[in-house]
Amino acid sequence: MDDYAVGVLTNIGLFGFLAISAYLLLLAGEMSFGQQAFFGVGAYSGGMLTAMGGWPLPLAVVAAMLLGALAALMVALPTLRLRGLYFAMATLAAAEMARIGFELLHWQVELEGEQTGPDGTQGFRGIRWVLENGIEPGAYLAIIWLVLAMVVGVVIALERTRLGATLRGVGEDPELAAALGVDVTRFKLGVAAAAGALAALGGVLYAHHNTYVEPRNFDIMLGVHSLAYALIGGLGTVFGPLLGVLVDIGLLEGSRVFQGYRMIVFGGLVALLLVFRPRGLLDERTVIWLRRRLSSLTPWR
């Protein structure tokens, strides 16, 4: 595989985490414009732990995910009582505050004669744990996709349990779910924390892929893209958001055919697609139909 293909595939994997994070909240009936903030929290905290603190990456990943969940809880606690658009705007405001926070963050230490650490709008250079430990881009790609596969596996397993049914129930009709004995607010807090941790996981891996992050990476564009990924791909299955990422980064950015016109094609396609499939390509109905087809094709079941 050439470097370009590895780069594109790595990006698909990395933004896949963010798209799944937006997807989980959409299932719970909440539209967040702020998941990019937790992606940023993961990138900055993970990068600081490995580059400045000398932590190994796996430990930094765990810490970054905890921080991402914590940050998501801090945003969700005062805002979850809000409905629809108000929640979207509150998460947008929180995420922009986080981005400006990264711009104001100046904390550098001297390591081996070099200043390392976040330097405001100049960004944060030298997140080199992956390079220094001799992990090739191809191997790092494999690690990212392995982690993503684990996440997808966990989400699929959870969606088959009572928890998954509750998640969709809370999203479809919170009053009904509450009447059935679900503590809707607490449940949504849990979903928000999980989505925050997931975004942070993507962020820390992203920072170690790029070795450099800056506040601008985590602006509103990233957040709306992740929402769009989940919605284009479809809300019927966890493969939906991944399909959304694949369509945007894989098909359009990766193919270079539409160079210069990528956004004109993508924008028009998405708007048209949503006219005919307002819940995405792999919406609930399609997923159920596919499942039936698949199970009729497997005679041993």
């Binding site: 959409l26 539209m31 005062p78 805002t79 809000l82 409905r83 629809g84 658009l85 108000y86 979207a88 705007m89 509150a90 405001a93 929180a94 922009e96 505050m97 400006i100 926070g101 711009e103 104001l104 509103i220 709306v224 929402l227 769009a228 919605l231 284009i232 210069g260 016109y261 990528r262 956004m263 004109i264 993508f266 924008g267 028009g268 396609l269 998405v270 708007a271 048209l272 949503l274 006219v275 307002p278 819940r279």
Partner: protein
Amino acid sequence: MLADLVQNTLDGLAAGSAYALLAVGFTLIFGVLRRVNLCYGPAIMLGCYAATFVHLSFGAGLLVLALVCVLASVLAGGYVERLCFAPHRKGSGIAAMVASFALWMQLEEVAILALPKHLYPFPALYDGKPIDLAGFTIRVEALVMLGAASVVCAALWWVLYRTRFGIAARAVIDSPLAAELSGISVPRVSMGVFALASAIGGLAGFLVSASFEQVTPMLGMWSTFKGLLAMMLGGLGSLPGAVAGALVLGLVEAHSQWFLGPQLRDLLAFLMLFMLLAIGPRWMTTR
């Protein structure tokens, strides 16, 4: 100190009147559609790019440019309405919002392809010196902006409260179902209100471009953000509220920019919105 406060207040009111035009347009669209049009700003930006294009090609004067700006914004707005909002009238708000974001990306790229430099000069609204009044500088552009905002608000009031179209529009805003049952064509009224809002936005875009004497692709995001912020601060869905929210936003920004710098200015604006939503009065967040 006192002089700074007065000067900042004047500057804030001028910025606030530009925000007011944007917020009023946003509120009109939200009122009839109950949807947020993320592509509102980018449509305005495209209008300003069309005007810049006309200016560069034919050297047209300000009045023509204003007309081009408004017309092109209305056309771009109509395109957005047809593709993002008309098909989702009864369906999902999220789909409409994401579709409008997709068109935002599209319009931005159209503008960049048509005029690829990052920044284009726009003819100045006023060439002369600012007015000096008792030691305070008052930019003539600011006065024009304030005047335009007042005239637009008054005209809008007249349209909404003194014409048949206005009665129909208010009926739709109040309850689309009741309006439909009483024989009002909701899609047509929505389309009309959308065009009206886009025209107001186009005018705002023209005034902003001409007083900053430049256009960049960032104008789209800027207009959407400022309009949305002002509308939310004003309590969403109320026109006087939107104007009040816009003026508050302008004043807070002008003062905090002076005393705290541009980064903390933006932080403060978002903090204000967040606090208002998180711990503000309940009636503001249940419309």
